[in-house]
């Protein structure tokens, strides 16, 4: 029997990616997992094994618990809004019309902007002393005095901040859903129309079930983004407890308090949390479709 010659080309082609993943994803992940069980405090050396102490301290840290609640609200508001808007935009963009490509390019702009820039831009809108929104509402005689949108009421603050993030992440959701949407054969809609289906029924019984793979990916990316929200609350609301997120708390614990062990533990919990939610979403929303 002729011995099959080992073809190195495929391995050579994927090797940069493998090296990249090992160096920049796997190694830090393994390091973080191990270090989460150590006391790593440059101000209180030496580094030593501490078992579950870091996790115990985190659970008893009121700032972490508060940020966990805030992050849950960010996820709830952000994922819901970005998915609903993403579906709406994708459906609108499904049919070709004049200027569609330009509109898609404009829509994607917020996604391309850094979160810090968006935070600064929206400061000009939400600002209670000089903000555009207050100015518009006052000129329309809807308010008599400038209103404070950020910092006083927790839910309002988180909603205002999350709107900024939704503005950023919705374009990607829309594009992901649109990509799946465009694979749906027109025959299905034509057949449904012949059978007496109207637009609403076609959307409910054809579009929605068939774009589930796209929705699942959009939801997972929205969960990852909202779970790691940092720039927008940091710029718009500072480090105030009314809106600080888990990612902000991780930053504070690690780089402000220089308690890297707890920072690693918190990062590990966020990663596990992200994986769990993503698996649940994939299980319940994702469905393989065949046309």
């Amino acid at each position: 029997m002729k011995k099959k010659k080992l073809d190195l080309l495929p391995y050579a082609l994927i090797s940069p990616l493998i090296i990249f993943i090992i160096c920049l994803a796997l190694t830090p992940a393994v390091y973080t997992t191990i270090a989460a069980f150590f006391k790593v405090q440059p101000l209180n050396p030496p580094t030593r094994f501490s078992g579950l102490d870091n996790f115990r301290d985190i659970i008893h840290n009121s700032a972490v618990i508060s940020s966990l609640g805030n992050t849950f609200l960010y996820i709830l508001i952000g994922v819901t809004l970005s998915t609903v808007l993403g579906i709406y935009i994708a459906v609108v963009m499904q049919r070709s019309f004049k200027g569609r490509s330009i509109l898609i390019a404009i829509l994607i702009l917020p996604w391309a902007l850094p979160g810090v820039v968006e935070g600064i831009l929206w400061t000009g809108i939400w600002d209670a002393n000089t903000g555009v929104l207050n100015s518009v509402l006052k000129s329309l005689h809807l308010i008599t005095h400038y209103q404070v949108f950020l910092g006083q009421n927790r839910l309002l603050t988180i909603l205002a901040i999350e709107i900024v993030q939704v503005w950023q992440i919705t374009p990607l959701s829309a594009i992901l859903i649109l990509a799946v949407l465009q694979n749906i054969p027109d025959d299905l809609y034509e057949a449904a129309t012949i059978d007496g289906s109207n637009a609403r029924k076609s959307f409910r019984h054809i579009t929605l079930p068939l774009i589930r793979p796209g929705i699942a990916i959009a939801v997972v990316q929205a969960i990852i983004a909202t779970l790691n929200v940092f720039d927008q609350p940091y710029i718009l609301n500072g480090a105030a407890s009314t809106a600080n997120s888990l990612a902000m708390e991780t930053y504070a614990v690690s780089f402000q308090n220089l308690n890297f062990g707890q920072g690693y533990a918190l990062s590990l919990l966020i990663t596990i949390f992200t994986l769990l939610i993503s698996v649940v979403v994939a299980k319940f929303i994702y469905k393989k479709v065949e046309y």
Binding site: S15, I19, A128, G151, Q152, A240, S241, Q256
Partner: protein, 439 residues
């Protein structure tokens, strides 16, 4: 001509070369070998580059080329901490903030400057050098004598009929109320209540004005009693929001934002804790201000007369992992030279002026500026610099960043109305007590 097999073989070869090149790093293959070059040092600060003309003069005189990188302050602190923790090179010279001196001194993340510069000789000409000294080691050299000052819009005060400027807190508060009741402006006082470092600084300055300190020599809080200066300062600040002296929207306004959008636009009549140099670099600049020549410095009103000003200087030091510490030290010596600092502040024309630079950290630099008459309010500022005091006379504790975070988050919450002043003070004091006990 190549046949299919040859193409396949050559493709494989190219792919393997690319893979190996990726692993090794493209730069080493792409970049030609360089000839030995003069020393280049990396300087990273939260400030724009120095005037090109002056940097060129430095290079010509020393053979040292400066590669300047500007980062925002918060990112810079994170990068310094991350690089030092990872034991890697970050810069040859970088920011040493007064508030981080305790932490940096304990961690030995920076080289002791007394090894490279005659710091003893410097101290007489540099009043704020003490703020950069920890355990007998100078962690950084102040290059900008920023300190907190009170600024007043004299035109708005005059409109309210105030002819004599206040010298005490009581007079100052009464004057602000007069400005408000006479409807000169709706909200006469600017306090940045955003949960950020600027709020902590404002409280320290106000505490000093009320005649007290924040922590004792062991780091225990001195502000728990309602009769203490720190408690009174917090109550005065929060009360200013509740009584309408401060705009309600200021709960999310950071220090520089308030200076730019309220004071510089004539929407506020005074900032109790402002940055030295703001009159010349912000309020008197027509492009950024609508109150040109209206704002003046005021000796900080205290309990029974002018109080001392809180030092808030910027410093520069050499990280322990610097590649060229000797060259960095040469740069720092040149950078903090009195004559050069006077040039940065505008003593010798715009080509030598450093954008955003406030005030020389050396008295000799200020003397040059005053002699040339090129600094607005120079006499007043020079007097204030002489009496400016460190926030923590014993040096900032190593755990300062965590304490400051407790200060600004709780004062913010008190101003936002989600907790009382008393609860905020208790939370701040609790943090200081816990941290100073080493828990």
């Amino acid at each position: 001509m190549l046949n299919a097999k040859q193409v396949s073989k050559s493709t494989k070869s190219v792919a393997i070369v690319i893979a190996v090149a990726s692993a090794l790093g493209f730069s080493s293959l792409a970049a030609p070998a360089k000839a030995a070059s003069p020393v280049t040092i990396s300087v990273v600060l939260a400030a724009p580059p120095l005037p090109a003309q002056m940097l060129a003069e430095f290079t010509k005189a020393t053979g040292i080329t400066v590669k300047w990188t500007q980062l925002d302050w918060d990112s810079l602190q994170t990068k310094i901490a991350a690089a030092a923790t990872a034991n890697t090179f970050f810069a040859d010279a970088t920011d040493v903030d007064w508030s981080r001196v305790g932490q940096l001194g304990k961690l030995n993340w920076f080289l002791p400057m007394e090894k490279y510069v005659d710091t003893k000789a410097l101290s007489a000409d540099m009043p704020q050098l003490g703020s950069f000294t920890k355990n007998g080691h100078v962690v950084g050299i102040p290059y900008d004598a920023s300190f907190m000052v009170t600024t007043v819009n004299k035109t708005l005060f005059a409109k309210a009929g105030i002819k004599k400027m206040p010298t005490t807190i009581a007079e100052y508060t009464a004057d602000l109320n007069t400005v408000k009741t006479k409807k000169v402006v709706q909200y006469p006082l600017n306090i940045p209540f955003a949960a950020a470092e600027g709020l902590s600084t404002y409280w320290y300055e106000t505490t000093g004005a009320f005649g007290g300190h924040i922590l004792d020599a062991t780091g225990k809080p001195l502000f728990t009693s309602p009769t203490s200066a720190g408690y009174k300062a917090a109550a005065w600040m929060v009360n200013a929001v509740k009584t309408g002296l401060v705009p309600p929207g200021n709960i999310n306004v950071a220090d520089s934002q308030g200076q730019q959008t309220l004071m510089a636009k004539g929407k506020s009549a005074s900032t109790f804790s402002d940055y030295s140099g703001n009159v010349g670099s912000l309020y008197d600049v027509p492009a950024s201000s609508s109150v040109v020549h209206q704002v003046q410095y005021l000796a900080t009103p205290g309990v029974a007369g002018p109080a001392s000003n809180l030092g808030n200087p910027d410093g520069i030091g050499i990280p322990a992992k610097a590649k060229n510490p000797a060259a960095a030290a040469k740069f720092i010596s040149w950078f903090t030279d009195g004559k050069n600092m006077a040039d940065f502040a505008g003593a010798n024309g715009t080509a030598r002026t450093w954008v955003g630079y406030f005030f020389p950290s050396r008295l000799s630099g200020i003397a040059i500026l005053n002699k040339k008459g090129s600094i607005i309010g120079g006499d007043v500022l020079a007097g204030m610099l002489k009496t400016s005091a460190a926030v923590f006379p014993e040096g900032a504790p190593a755990w300062y960043p965590e304490f400051s975070s407790a200060v600004y988050t709780n004062l913010h919450a008190a101003a936002a109305g989600t907790m009382t002043v008393d609860a905020a003070i208790k939370a701040m004091a609790g943090t200081a007590t816990k941290l100073s006990s080493g828990k």
